[in-house]
């Protein structure tokens, strides 16, 4: 463990980038399941419940869950260590700063990260801890039948206007994080190519728009209805 903290700056960045990209892939899977909350097919609730059942009971997914939590943990710990070192590297600040041209959201990675972290905590209280029986299931118009009944929990949460709006706001912040993050991860991994880097940058930008948009449609649907 102590060794993990003494890796060089570049090694920390590699590990962080891999963990970040892994989280980004997971986010796509997560969205894929979430979209079935919306009436996109006749039996969408059924499909959603099958997916949730699979995600909560399959033994392989249990292993995956550990990897996922590990990914978050490493990403967060390294993110914080690197950021603190970066603050320490300039003990005396400039009177005038921030005039150089930069990748825009790169300046706010730690800020967006902290907000995502708060979002994660809320998310755990609303879902994961409910599953484990640590917290109460969210109440609302629908009755929650058991602690795996995520469909009705989601309906209850998104039927609360302030919650739906807060959720949308937090997802937009996540989009800001991802906007800089995807292409940054490739640069950190040393994957630069004059032909393909513009393509990676474009895919990263599209990802950071499309994935948050997908997550936002769901509370939006409940807000409108």
């Amino acid at each position: 463990m102590a060794k993990l903290l003494h890796y060089s700056s570049l090694t920390k960045k590699f590990i962080m980038a891999i963990a970040g990209l892994f989280l980004a892939v997971f986010l796509m899977v997560h969205l894929g399941i979430n979209l079935f909350i919306l009436p996109i097919t006749e039996n969408h609730v059924e499909i959603f419940e099958i997916a949730v059942h699979f995600m909560t009971s399959n033994p392989l997914i249990k292993v995956f869950e550990i990897v996922l939590f590990g990914g978050f943990l490493i990403h967060i710990i390294y993110g914080l260590i690197l950021q603190i070192q970066n603050w320490m590297a300039r003990p005396k600040r400039y009177k005038i700063e921030g005039f150089s041209h930069t990748s825009f959201f790169s300046k706010y990675m730690i800020h967006t990260a902290i907000i995502i972290f708060i979002f994660l905590v809320i998310h755990f209280i609303n879902f994961y801890f409910v599953k484990l029986g640590f917290t109460e299931a969210p109440q609302g118009p629908n009755e929650v039948t058991n602690n795996h009944d995520f469909y009705n929990m989601v309906v209850n949460l998104f039927s609360t206007t302030w919650y739906a709006i807060m959720y949308i706001g937090l997802i937009i912040i996540l989009g800001f994080h991802l906007n800089h993050a995807i292409q940054s991860a490739f640069q950190s991994l040393g994957l630069y190519h004059s032909k393909y880097t513009p393509f990676i940058k474009m895919v990263g930008t599209l990802y950071s728009i499309i994935i948050p948009l997908g997550f936002i449609i769901i509370p939006l649907y409940f807000l409108i209805n």
Binding site: N86, A89, R90, K95, F99, S106, H180, L189, L191, S194
Partner: protein, 252 residues
């Protein structure tokens, strides 16, 4: 031109330092920024005041000594040049100009606007060389080199070690400088032999000296007076990864 200057004054490395305001009048638009400071300094000497200390040497953009952080940008508002090459026509008559030293923990202020950049020398000493016997000059083309590699190496070698990349980086990271020095050698056959050892040693030294970590903001590339590209950073990242994974253990 008439200008108001807010300049960082600090007697020595230990002093607290503060901004002082100065007025200069009748400056030609064709004067260089350093000439403008010379004029101010002469007038201060006439008044028996201590002139402002700032680094400079060649004044033709090749030595890397000049290092002023002007209105929030290293080397001032003009693109792709050092401050010694920047002219006063980049400023409006009557404007206020704030001049600060580079700010980074490994670059302590010596006096006023002068900073100690020995940290860069230590990084070079850690591995930024090719350890071979220098014999006679070899015949041209006796070692074939790809043209694109020769050009990339030359571009990287254009780095003058000024430290503007560190100065502008919000993390005070030296990655652009170190990656330019790693690249200029790793791209050529003579330098390739020690590439794995070099990149590990130079990165370790960079970390030890207390430079910040790169978060790919790309401010360095935007401000580098020699247009060093961030693709060098990616090259160094990749080489480091390969070296860590593939190369034999280094005996310290």
């Amino acid at each position: 031109m008439d200008l108001t200057l807010k300049i960082w004054r600090q007697e020595n490395a230990q002093a607290r330092g503060k901004f002082e305001t100065y007025k200069v009048t009748g400056i030609s638009e064709d004067a260089s920024f350093l000439e403008m400071l010379d004029i101010l300094n002469e007038s201060m000497v006439d008044k028996v005041q201590l002139p402002i200390a700032f680094d400079h040497d060649c004044r033709e953009g090749i030595c890397g000594m000049c290092s002023l952080y002007i209105n929030g940008r290293p080397h001032g508002p003009d693109q792709g040049i050092t401050v010694c090459q920047m002219h006063m026509r980049n400023f409006k008559d009557g404007s206020t100009i704030v001049i600060e030293p580079w700010r980074a923990k490994p670059f302590p202020v010596i006096k006023d606007l002068m900073i100690d950049r020995s940290a860069f020398d230590l990084i070079i000493q850690a591995g930024g060389y090719v350890s071979v016997h220098t014999g006679g000059v070899p015949d041209a083309n006796s070692i074939p080199i790809k043209k694109e590699h020769a050009e990339l190496a030359m571009d990287a070698a254009a780095c003058i070690g000024c430290g503007a990349c560190v100065a502008t980086c919000k993390n005070a990271s030296a990655m652009l400088f170190v990656s330019a020095k790693v690249s200029q050698m790793a791209l050529l056959p003579q330098g390739k032999i020690e590439a794995a050892r070099r990149v590990q040693k130079m990165v370790a030294e960079m970390d030890d000296l207390g430079f910040g970590n790169c978060t790919n903001t790309y401010a360095c590339e935007a401000e580098c007076p020699k247009d060093i590209k961030i693709s060098n950073i990616a090259r160094m990242n990749w080489q480091f990864l390969i070296a860590k994974v593939g190369a034999q253990k280094m005996n310290a």
